[in-house]
Amino acid sequence: MSGQTLYDKLWQSHLVLERDDGSALIYIDRQLIHEVTSPQAFEGLRLSGRRPWRTEANLAVPDHNVPTVKDERDGGIDGIVDPVSRLQVRTLDDNCKDFDIVEFEINDRRQGIVHVVGPEQGATLPGMTIVCGDSHTSTHGALGALAHGIGTSEVEHVLATQCLVQQKMKNMLVRVDGKLQPGVTAKDVVLAIIGEIGTAGGTGYAIEFGGEVIGDLSMEGRMTVCNMAIEAGARAGMIAVDQKTIDYVEGRTYAPKGEQWERAVAAWRELHSDADAVFDRVVALKGEDIKPQVTWGTSPEMVLPVDGNVPDPANAASAAERDAISRALQYMGLSAGQAITDIKLDKVFIGSCTNSRIEDLRAAAAVVKGKRVAGSVKLAMVVPGSGAVKEQAEAEGLHEVFTAAGLEWREPGCSMCLAMNSDKLGAGEHCASTSNRNFEGRQGFGGRTHLVSPQMAAAAAIAGHFVDVRDW
């Protein structure tokens, strides 16, 4: 018998029961909750007279709707100007109180984007099963956990039963071998992977990322990669536990301590695919080949190296592809064959659960230090992923580097990643964004998003158009 993959091990250890038809009940160790996808789940519990199965498994934090402007934020929930957002954040508070669930409230220093907060507080641990009513829950797989996004009915299901009904996924290994060029980051790696396998390439699979490049990444970088597994169609992305993982977890608020720490570490050391494990699909990329990436279209797979030119529909392989390219070029206001470096930016957004951790902010600050945002850029903003990241960045003086360069320094939250608060693009505006989705209207009605790394976004803010950060 061949060995097990990391996914097989995580699945097996959480299997409560299997039905004859192949569906299974999987035990969930941690559920993260935010204000957008939970109200209907709590309402469902109430209507059926159910209580959470294990309250302590749940951790809540408002992030999608919270304002990032200091004045508005200082007023707490009452200060939120938009009444609909205010009600949603208040409803989360009320529900957490009613059901006795721990919540980091809007102005708690631990508040932040749910996928930044979990690992940072040690609420995400290796070997866990983690769910959240949010597709980027795949982020947590960077710690050797099985983590995936679920819908609101499933949020209610996990609250009520601590289990999820699942079908086992297939195994895919994405291996990135060799070394990265200087200036090329985790974000470029994952965008290159999506460019290679497509936005549906991972559908039905759990993806394990491996190879020397992944091993060399920091934990923050690994989270960036796993964050975007869903953009490749895979609900779960994961990376084996190594010494870096263990060092990252040690000492965090909710991490085990003392004798339990020793036991936990011993268990975590097993969290890797066996040498003879068999994957249903293996994709390999060479680190040296990856250049800084920029998306030009309306799907993350519409991505090119910064020295590329946007495609010409005339050269498309099929009619469907031609239509898709034409539609995307039209929406994005680009002409066929235009150089990526000729795309001018109106706004720049550095933030989101993909790239708002301390390392991302350090990298962006290093690029803008001593320079000024181009006059043609209307707004460049930096939104830290959490209160803790913000504190750390301020302790290092990064906020001063940003503001001196003309970037705005904001309060933590999802912000312009999905524009549910007042941070949005206007129609037709081009934005260099470190977030994860460039769908039509994602950052605001008619907005045009280009996904890039923090370094590339920072350099674009200074230059006013995309530049190759390798030459910076």
Binding site: V36, R50, T161, A267
Partner: protein, 215 residues
């Protein structure tokens, strides 16, 4: 949840690949704390020419005449014919809520995104995967015939065209059972409460650090 058995319904097109959930229901409507009332904002950015706001009455908004769902011939459709990777992107269950509230009970496409596919079943919607070539042909038949209807037979697991041609589809047995009977998943899982408690007891002993307090 509404049960699904046999549906005979008018077919409408969503003729492009990679339709994401932001396109199905834009984020401003996610601020609702209810699970109904999303129908008027289904495909909001494609259906209307202005930008929609939550709570707004949609009846007076300027409509995009080019968008098929605004055409008279597709009014009352309950089957949506779509292309590859339908429902990709965010996990928002507001997407199936909006489709269902609008009146769609069945979706047919060559492939669906995983989370969306799963969310459909929780809301009485049947997503059907058919071969890309077959879907292509159905698009053609639908465009050529106004009032084109399909019969979707879940018990028999087949889709039938007006000419009587039947196409089989796969559906996992447990999901089929729940959909046929309109069953609440939670109730079914709680029938296994004892197995869950047994597992939890063992797991807690083996990995006590997963059960620490968050206070």
């Amino acid at each position: 949840m509404q049960a699904f058995t046999v549906l005979q319904g008018l077919v409408a097109p969503m003729d492009r690949a990679n339709v994401d959930t932001d396109l199905i229901i834009p984020k401003q409507f996610l601020k609702s704390i209810k699970r109904s009332g999303f129908g008027p904002n289904l495909f909001d950015e494609l259906r209307y020419l202005d930008q929609g706001e939550p709570g707004q009455d949609c009846s007076g908004r300027p409509v995009n005449e080019d968008f098929p769902l605004n055409h008279a011939r597709y009014q009352g459709a309950s089957v949506l014919l779509a292309r590859d990777n339908f429902g990709c992107g965010s996990s928002r269950e507001h997407a199936p809520w909006a489709l269902e509230d609008y009146g769609f009970r069945c979706l047919i496409a060559p492939s669906f995104a995983d989370i969306f596919y799963n969310n459909c079943f929780k809301n009485g919607i049947l997503p059907i995967v058919l071969d890309a070539a077959i879907v292509d042909r159905l698009f053609g038949e639908m465009y050529a015939n106004e009032g084109y209807e399909l019969t979707v037979d879940l018990p028999a697991q087949e889709v039938r065209t007006p000419s009587g041609e039947a196409m089989a589809f796969e559906v996992d047995a447990f999901r089929k059972h729940c959909l046929l009977n309109g069953l609440d998943d939670i109730g079914l899982t709680l029938e296994h409460a004892e197995a869950i408690r047994d597992f939890e007891g063992r797991w807690r002993e083996q990995s006590p650090w997963l059960f620490g307090s968050l206070r």
